[in-house]
Symmetry: C2
Amino acid sequence: MPAHLTHQHCWSSLPSPSVREAASMYSTAVAIFLVILVAALQSSEPPESSFPYHIPLDPEGILELSWNISYVQDIIHFQLQVQGPRAGVLFGMSDRGEMENADLIVLWTDGNRSYFADAWSDQKGQIHLDAQQDYQLLQVQRTSDGLSLLFKRPFVTCDPKDYLIEDDTVHLVYGILEKPFQSLEAINTSSLNTGLQRVQLLKSEVPTPAMPADVQTIEIQAPDILIPDNETTYWCYVFVLPPDFSEHRRHIIKYEAIVTEGNEALVHHMEVFQCSAEFESIPQYDGFCGSKMEPDRLNYCRHVLAAWALGAKAFYYPEEAGVAFGGVGSSRYLRLEVHYHNPWNIRGRHDSSGIRLYYTDSLRKFNAGIMELGLVYTPVMAIPPQETAFVLTGYCTDKCTMMALPPSGIHIFASQLHTHLTGRKVVTVLARNGQEMKVVNRDNHYSPYFQDIRMLKKIVSVFPGDVLITSCTYNTEDRKLATVGGFGILEEMCVNYVHYYPQTELELCKSAVNDGYLQKYFRQVNSFNNEEVCTCPQASVPEQFTSVPWNSYNRDMLKALYRFAPISMHCNKTSGVSFQGEWNPQPLPEITSTLKEPGPNCPAQQAPSHTNPTVVSAAGAEAES
Amino acid sequence: MPAHLTHQHCWSSLPSPSVREAASMYSTAVAIFLVILVAALQSSEPPESSFPYHIPLDPEGILELSWNISYVQDIIHFQLQVQGPRAGVLFGMSDRGEMENADLIVLWTDGNRSYFADAWSDQKGQIHLDAQQDYQLLQVQRTSDGLSLLFKRPFVTCDPKDYLIEDDTVHLVYGILEKPFQSLEAINTSSLNTGLQRVQLLKSEVPTPAMPADVQTIEIQAPDILIPDNETTYWCYVFVLPPDFSEHRRHIIKYEAIVTEGNEALVHHMEVFQCSAEFESIPQYDGFCGSKMEPDRLNYCRHVLAAWALGAKAFYYPEEAGVAFGGVGSSRYLRLEVHYHNPWNIRGRHDSSGIRLYYTDSLRKFNAGIMELGLVYTPVMAIPPQETAFVLTGYCTDKCTMMALPPSGIHIFASQLHTHLTGRKVVTVLARNGQEMKVVNRDNHYSPYFQDIRMLKKIVSVFPGDVLITSCTYNTEDRKLATVGGFGILEEMCVNYVHYYPQTELELCKSAVNDGYLQKYFRQVNSFNNEEVCTCPQASVPEQFTSVPWNSYNRDMLKALYRFAPISMHCNKTSGVSFQGEWNPQPLPEITSTLKEPGPNCPAQQAPSHTNPTVVSAAGAEAES
């Protein structure tokens, strides 16, 4: 949908203020702002016509964002389309989607003129002009049914008020202005209709491998579901592959989402899981996930075949690898899980969204595999309540990679990070000879509500003897009791599902603290607090954690324990059996040099940029005279 | 000693290289550097003729630094004088006086031309040109016996390679170039004669109070000492005030150092202590401090009357306060302590340095007092070995200030920080209602070898109910056993002697961890490490600390203990008796909001400055043609 520059209208439909008011506002505007008629002046810059990425910002699809990325210039071009007559719009990014302390662009009108500015909101939500104007407006276009903005911004601006755009999750925020404001400072986000949308802006743009001539597709779609009018619905549907899929093995080489038209803003994410081959059959099911009606056997449909989240495009496997699919020992039963996000409780929408798998009979050189890194699902790894940034770390040790990986190594090309509700950051680092070498995947703005499979920008090769360290940061400010590790949604996980080739027997390379050392910790808690409480060993670990009085000493001691105590390793084959050897206790890997988290490279000297809003229409001013 | 711009000589006395070499060097110089004949061009800037501060940099006084401070422009002007013919000189600042990672100016010659540059040394000591040239050369002068440089630099340059000049201790470094270097990059500090000198560059410049007409002086000087040819000598001398000093009270209102001419580079610091009045007399002594010959009673001469360190000027008391001196109940015995620093083992120097006290019979409105903040001298506060930055904190609690301070508060005008050998940073912060309000005194480059009394730039008033928190950071990398608190030089202290008025009964407001909680810690260490070791309670605390196996868990637990455990308060009167009330255990003060350590305010936008060395003499170039 190419956007062409049209004649500039005064796009505000609100009545003009009196001439006197307008004159006063005008002189204020001139005094404060250097008037630049950018839309006219900059029309020589050709509009960006190619936006490979699209995402609706609000649940009704009133705002739609499209963007493209230039990795040569480190710049993003954004196209923001707003439906219907609006006084203005506000769009930007913030740490975790809050409207306070956000990096924003604002298009507003004083009822007379319209302005565009790079702005920021303070901790009370009040908007201020940025000292440095880094969002550059390229075009404002008024169409019959709304408004379209074209603007660009570098990934890194070196303005402390700006969001640093990195590879990880970005929390986009938006607000709709329904009336004029005398000035930018008069706007407070708390008085607006606002919302957030999570997306990975800086997607990996590895070249798309060519599809073979014999490529075939199969669509795993839910059958005409009436989307419930609840904010959150996880819908589960069992899909059975045709019998001939058991005949021979194929390779899945690509998949993509099929989203029912009109529901783009409601379908939040989808995953296809393959069921365990140990069951001859899996009962049919088409209903809420986790409902009492759901057959228990669906718990054995956990092997991820495909995962898609809002804003993601088609997922291509590297040209030398594909996911083994079909044939002997491969279940024909798949579970499709669709997450509907319907915060405005829209009713009556029917949906048949799903995922299209592309597969081929011409097997590629390597099978692709998925390996689980991080923490074992066990309550011994726990987070005290009221923590803002508690870190748990799981290891894949040199001993395990030495035993399980081929001498030529494995090549990780994609990664899906996973925690439950309190996860805020996840990172996996590769270490060799005690030194951290590189980041496999890092998300400093991780959200459990946005778990997509991400292609890595560069393939990471892991060799025997390497160590993979996965750390998750949790926020338990709203919890009253300790949060222990486990499968439950109120328990926690710390996992990185890495997609790699060639497939090995190693399916799970995770750790947890050695239980004996945890029991020493509980004895220390008892002895230090000469107890009313009892974290007695006959109790279960979750009960023991529940009885810890969480003063600063017991918190610090738990951190110290996790930093010090030997671990129990799970170095397991696909069959669930561990590789041969002693795995508990194992020494904690020793890391002598750590990677610095790279900050933006901001030189002290920088070319000054203009620090004034842009007047986007002179029509109002003309009306004055 | 005003420096006048004279005709520019080629100040290098070394032979010129061949014309061909010179031509090659010349073209290199032109290619790399923009040639600016600064000394000639900038002669219009008047030389700074007033340098209130002077310090010899090396023990022979070959290099002498003078400087002045402009708190309006936040700029220091430096005058560096170098005696004798030298190929060049290097001067600058680094974190703790090391020649690596230093911020430097370099004046060097390639045998032909001479250059001046703002530079930095890397972690191997190699010199590089700074991308941003912040030291500005104003004048180079060749006199009959050496060289004189005049240059200036802002306190804050926002160049990451530059030292941030703050109020605290600055480690100046210098090096002498004895031969030409083809380029700046050819210089490595490890091949030079180098050294360091500690100084407070940014001294407080509060206006000097007028002296009353009846001001009198008394000189406390050592009698003609032959300075020993050891690197470090602490000389102790007992001085007896004339009998009439017992007759009535005076006020000391000023003091200053008297340094024997020629020994300016050897006399490192001096202190005058008053002895306890409980002894009728103190034996005469004139010898090494701490020697076996020293009478034990000198241990009772610990009340600081005056302290001076290299680079410090006269110390003036605020005009409304003076130190009570003489009269009934005041000892006539003083101990003068002189620290000679003679690293080059110079022999045969005689010295009669000392301190001149200015006093008056016209008593001022208030007596000034000294209060000790920080940690009690007790082994319960200990630092594990091999720590690079272990922090111990002492408190002066609200309960104690509530009991001891007048409703109108006290006013701190000066501060002397004190630790033993492993101290690296000291800070005292004032907190009110659980919130840190302001820094009383902070030294992030503290050195136990440089303990002067510093005037505060702003008087800090402390009211009943306020809390004073003193934290010291220690480096025990070179220790094999724990370092416990105590009086010994290998034990540690954490003290801030604050000078204030009006004098109160409160002499000591310090804390230590409650011993019962420390014993719980030792029990935990035992239980966790199911012991070969025994940190048994029948052992002394230093013995218990000695037997702790210092793994990361026991280190972290000790930190956690000090952050959590109740304290034992010493809220003591001058008599050594504590104020009435329960002082052990006391709750640790709760601090809900802490002060951010203010970084330099470096805007993202900055005017670019030239990034080339300055050619300081054209004489060599003329020789080529």
